[in-house]
């Protein structure tokens, strides 16, 4: 097996251009995912799925001051026409820290409202212990020589079992086609010595492709640097080989909790518990056999008794 290859997605330099989404679809001939205005910031993709193998999440972070403002409710007696004067009056929300007051307009540093806009390009994690691969009944999912997890479209029979097995909600079934699809880390490009389309298209190197070990080392340096710059919430996600999926082949540098990005905070490969499940099922099966026996034993006696 060749060296294990992976993605390091450094969300601290992601500019949300979605070039990764487009490049992925262009290269892999993934169909469009529908034209739906979602009103979730600039994200109209929503989530990873059979027709979206890269998904850029947009998270608008607001400061508490806005919430206070919102809760203040609509100011009475003002319609749209006299809006120009609306906040100048005494008692109007935020009016106490008007120009000249401490902090000027808005919050203490004038940055009322938006605090940050996080963007992150999500992708299949290519887990070390991949639940989708484990549970696939046909062998359609397999691990490549690059350590990635890929669906063989000609083998997949569409049972859909991989779909709820994924702890990240990545793989999905394309209903009109019946098969399951997800990121292949551009297996075909890798075979040709090329980097995956998304990494190639990423203008800011937010998506980096390379040998996983190198990427992990680079990511450690990067997160240290960001923390040194005061970004205390910067952390790596999926880089730990001891986590619940044995580490991700595609890991991330995040600037907030994973769940904020729609990622599970502490995912587990479901098959970790499979031996226990079988033990419980076997116990139940034995009990069932016993219960049948008991039924016949008790009822059988009854019949004999009636005779």
């Amino acid at each position: 097996m060749a060296e294990r290859m992976g993605f390091f997605t450094d969300t601290s330099v992601c500019i949300g251009c979605k070039a990764c989404e487009v490049a992925c679809k262009e290269w892999n001939d993934v169909p469009d995912d529908g034209f739906v205005f979602r009103a979730t910031s600039y994200d109209n993709t929503g989530a990873l799925g059979a027709d979206s193998w890269r998904h850029v999440a947009f998270i608008e972070q607001s400061r508490p001051i806005r919430r206070e403002r919102e809760q203040a409710g609509p100011e009475g007696g003002l319609d749209g026409l006299d809006v120009l004067g609306e906040l100048g009056g005494p008692g109007a929300p935020g009016g106490s820290d008007g120009p000249g007051g401490p902090g000027g307009p808005g919050g203490p540093d004038g940055q009322e409202g938006v605090e940050g806009w996080l963007m992150s390009s999500d992708v299949c994690k290519h887990c070390t212990h991949a639940a989708c691969l484990d549970v696939c009944p046909t062998g359609a999912l397999f691990r490549t020589e690059f350590g990635t997890v890929v669906v063989q479209a000609d083998v997949c029979n569409g049972c859909g079992y991989c779909v709820p097995a994924c702890p990240y909600g990545v793989i999905d079934r394309r209903e009109r086609d019946g098969r399951a699809f997800k990121c292949t880390m551009c297996y075909d490009r890798q075979l040709g010595g090329l980097e995956p389309a998304c990494a190639k298209a990423c203008p800011t190197d937010s998506i980096q492709f390379g040998p996983l070990d190198e990427l992990r080392a680079r990511a450690e340096e990067r997160v240290e640097r960001l923390r040194g710059e005061g970004r205390a919430r910067a952390r790596l996600y999926g880089a730990d080989p001891d986590d619940g999926v044995g580490g991700d082949g595609a890991f991330f540098l995040l600037l907030d909790d994973p769940e904020v990005y729609g990622l599970p905070p502490d995912p587990v490969v479901t098959t970790r518990d499979l031996p226990a499940m079988w033990r419980w099922a076997a116990g139940a099966a034995l009990s069932l056999a016993g219960a049948v026996a008991v039924s016949f034993a008790t009822a059988g006696r009854g019949r004999g008794w009636r005779r």
């Binding site: 500019i15 251009c17 169909p31 009103a39 609509p74 809006v83 409202g113 938006v114 963007m119 800011t204």
Partner: protein, 863 residues
């Protein structure tokens, strides 16, 4: 920049990784703001106040790079006694004529010097050549200023700043100066007085930028400028699409000159162009008023012959002093052997301006029936231009219309599916315009160059043939030209076309003309027929040919220099062997300024180009933008012309005096110094002056597109339009592509939570946006990224609106046309519309349809 130039933004990310601090000034919190160190929200249309306050901060605290300023700018030049500043006239400069709404700039000139007319005053309206925008045109025979009077003939009017070509206005090579900068009429002192009222308090009140945000910015840029460091500014149409757009850039230029950030590595002002090769399309222009290389277009009445033309085409000193060589070589490139000294090199063959032929004036002329035919190439004015309804009414009144585009854009289909059909204003059977749609080849289906914002030409190879009948522009125009020429008569009127050199080699079965042959013609050839290697080789005697003097050298040594692709790692950090930059492959313009007056680098860290005294020449990392052997101590003899008139310490070699102009003694239509005026449609009174808006702005009083009254309570919100990463301009190149269309499928408006709450707007719901032009509907995106600004005790709400949608154009997604909302009011220098700061009303719910829409608009118009 991340939003609209994501690929270029990688270098900002790279700079940031190397320690650069990035500020982002924008009404919205965008994808750029997300990565920047600091976002400063600003009210759309108030940038001169911010930039002016930075200038004031520099001047008041004497933070300017004094040695640079004294040596390389016109800070010490003394201005005419007659000059009156906006300080004296409450927002007007001296020379303003309220009747014509134009400036006579003679009072702005240097003391004791020649007087140079301003753009607007150099010419007069050609009779019938356009509707007088303010109804106050001068009467027949009324005298004009000074030398512009030419027998009472009415002259064409053209965009002012371009009348001087790339050389700027004519002025003194050696004006009176006070090197101590103490003279009350020296530029430095004028500047100081002019910008004194641009204070941090004013920034807070007018722009809505909090004081500490301003302080942080001011301290960062001043600390990061000087000998050891440089600061760069980048802007896009957020700065240009205003009635004071040219002055926005001027303000930034003044700041950068004061801080010594021009002509030095890591400095400058970067114009982020809106499309691929927009720089190229001004170098080899698609503009009506300039010829290739920024040579001015001749006027019908003023320029009888070549000498006359050259006499009015800008300065005689500096490199612009060689303009005869540039012009004659251009004429020789176009008319070849037919162009001789005896026939003025066919100067008479050139078309002439008869008036303002700018986009919006042309549209008015279409409505008025004076323009009958129209070529629309790679544009979609029915959706992409301001006041879309006016655009479409113009298109509907043509005899014929040729549209060349990749898809059947709305401009080609307005007659059968435009919005005016739905309101009943137009009926298809009444539109007599004959529309010819000619499908175009995309950029991967043809050869040629892209010229990007830093003047870098990069050759583009063809990847595949265009499908079906699609053809390149080159092919279309070349073969159109051939067909026209085949039909020419011996009549004298056909002579210019008959004698045109029109003989490019054709390649392949589609007879595609050779793009390289065109590039070689643009580069130019010498008497021996060999490609020239520098514009200094151009001659005024007709022995050289050159299609665009600034591009001379792109085919040096018979090699397509633009096709060079030596990887960056194999060459110096300036990377001179990647592509080719005009002029003369210089990567940073005016780089003589990167060395001190004695020719030494300002610092080791910022060393770029310097004087090598031993070898007696300029050398460095880049091609010196200076005569190679002119020593720093060179002083021009009296009466010298062209570059010989500039001293060894004059880096700005295209200017008549070789200086960076803090104060423009001529050349601008709306004042020698930037001044804050409110946008034409503004919810605020101008807090700085009695003069509300740019007095010289170009206004069209048309019933098709009335204006919102200033400070009207009917239109209380500020509207600004913009682009999204996911789409391209009017959407013709992105809406038909599923992969792009799905990323931003619907027109939406961005509003703050506060405004949404006030108006009852729901995230994901609908809103109707209304101006005096029309009303459109958009989905609502409630976001903290758009914040209400508190200005002088009032709250001003801004509404953001991307403009990529239209009703058709082969789009997989459709939507109302945002540009239909915009007014037709222009910057007087370059005739750019004010699209970035207008007023509007906002209502919850969808807009009415059919006649009800017209009734709604009428209600708003009637107030």
């Amino acid at each position: 920049m991340a939003e609209c130039h994501p690929v270029g933004f990688q270098w900002v990310v790279e700079a940031k990784a190397r320690g650069a601090k990035v500020f982002h000034v924008d009404p919205r919190f965008t994808r750029t703001s997300a990565i920047a160190d600091r976002h400063l929200p600003i009210r759309a249309g108030s940038d001169i106040v911010l930039l002016g306050a930075l200038i004031n901060h520099v001047l008041a605290n004497e933070l300017d790079f004094r040695e640079y300023v004294t040596a390389y700018t016109n800070a010490s030049s003394i201005v005419s006694d007659d000059f009156r500043d906006t300080e004296d006239l409450d927002g007007l400069f001296s020379g303003f004529d309220p009747d014509t709404r134009k400036y006579d700039p003679s009072s702005w000139a240097y003391a004791g010097g020649r007087q140079e007319a301003a753009a607007g005053q150099r010419s007069e309206q050609f009779e019938g050549g356009g509707r007088r925008e303010d109804g106050a045109g001068r009467g027949q025979g009324e005298p004009e200023a000074g030398e512009q009077m030419e027998g009472g003939a009415r002259h064409a009017e053209a965009a002012g700043a371009d009348q001087y070509g790339s050389g700027g206005a004519e002025t003194e090579a050696r004006p009176l100066t006070d090197p101590t900068l103490r003279h009350p009429r020296c530029v430095y002192q004028i500047l100081k007085r002019h910008f004194a009222r641009y204070t941090p308090e004013m920034v807070e009140e007018v722009c809505g930028i909090p004081r500490e945000g301003f302080t942080e910015l001011a301290e960062a840029i001043t600390a990061n400028s000087g000998r050891e460091r440089t600061t760069a500014w980048a802007y896009a149409v957020g700065w240009t699409q205003h009635t004071v757009g040219a002055q926005y850039i001027r303000t930034a230029s003044i700041l950068q000159l004061l801080l010594g950030n021009m002509g030095r590595p890591g400095g400058g002002i970067l114009a982020l162009r809106g499309h691929a090769s927009i720089q190229g399309s001004t170098d080899i222009p698609t503009l009506f008023n300039i010829l290739p290389g920024y040579l001015p277009m001749p006027h019908a009445h003023r320029h009888e012959n070549l000498d006359d033309y050259l006499a009015h085409a800008g300065a005689d000193t500096g490199f612009w002093g060689r303009k005869r060589s540039y012009m004659v070589s251009l004429l020789k490139a176009w008319w070849g052997e037919a162009a001789t000294e005896d026939n003025d090199f066919c100067f008479g063959h050139l078309p002439r301006l008869t008036g303002d032929h700018g986009h919006y004036t042309t549209v008015m002329a279409q409505i008025d029936g004076t323009v009958k035919g129209y070529f629309v190439v790679g544009e979609n004015p029915a959706v992409g231009s301001s006041g879309g309804r006016t655009q479409r009414l113009g298109l509907a009144n043509l005899d014929w219309l040729v549209v060349r585009d990749l898809t059947l854009v709305e401009t080609a289909t307005f007659w059968k599916d435009g919005p005016e059909l739905r309101t009943g204003e137009t009926r298809t059977e009444d539109v007599a315009t004959e529309v010819f749609f000619m499908p175009a080849a995309s950029h991967v289906e043809k050869e040629g160059t892209f010229t990007n914002t830093q003047r870098l030409l990069q050759w583009r190879h063809k990847a595949l043939d265009p499908p079906g009948d699609c053809r390149s522009e080159l092919s279309f125009y070349y073969h159109l030209g051939k067909r026209i020429r085949a039909r020419l008569s011996d009549d004298e009127i056909d002579r210019p076309l008959r004698e045109l050199t029109w003989d490019y080699p054709e390649e392949g079965e589609r007879a595609e003309p050779s793009a390289e042959a065109v590039l070689r013609e643009i580069n130019g050839t010498g008497p021996d027929g060999r490609a020239l290697s520098a514009y200094t080789e151009l001659e005024p005697d007709g022995s050289t040919r050159c299609g665009c003097w600034i591009y001379c050298g792109v085919y040096a040594d018979e090699v397509n220099q633009a096709a060079r692709r030596k990887p960056g790692r194999e060459q110096s950090w300036v990377a001179p062997e990647w592509g080719w930059a005009w002029p003369a492959n210089r990567r940073t313009l005016y780089n003589r300024a990167s060395a001190d007056p004695q020719g030494r680098p300002w610092s080791e860290r910022k060393a770029y180009v310097w004087w090598d005294a031993d070898r007696g020449e300029w050398t460095g990392h880049d091609v010196p933008d200076f005569e190679k052997d002119k020593p720093p101590d060179y002083l021009p003899p009296e009466g010298a012309l062209a570059e010989a008139a500039l001293a060894g310490t004059d880096p700005f070699i295209m200017q008549a005096d070789g200086k960076g102009w803090l104060f423009a003694p001529a050349g601008l239509a709306d004042g020698p110094l930037p001044t804050h005026y409110e946008p034409h449609e503004s919810p605020l009174r101008n807090p700085l002056y009695g003069q509300q808006a740019n007095p010289a702005r170009r206004i069209y009083h048309r019933e098709e597109a009335p204006y919102n009254p200033p400070q009207s309570p009917r239109f209380p919100y500020v509207l600004t339009t913009y682009r999204l990463t996911e789409h391209h301009t009017a959407g013709a190149m992105s809406r038909p592509l599923a992969y792009l269309a799905e990323l931003q499928p619907e027109l939406f408006c961005e509003v703050s939570p506060l405004l949404a709450e006030r108006l009852g707007l729901v995230n994901g719901g609908w809103a109707t946006i209304v101006t005096s032009r029309t009303a459109i509907e958009a989905r609502v995106l409630v976001t903290d990224r758009v914040r209400p600004l508190r200005l002088a005790g009032r709250t001003v709400h801004q509404i953001g609106l991307p403009y990529h949608w239209g009703w058709g154009g082969g789009g997989l997604v459709t939507g109302d046309v945002a540009n239909d909302l915009l007014p037709l009011v222009l910057d007087p220098n370059v005739y750019i519309q004010e699209g970035k700061a207008v007023t509007c009303d906002l209502r919850p719910g969808r807009r009415p349809t059919g006649r009800a829409l017209l009734e709604l608009i009428q209600e708003y118009r009637d107030g």
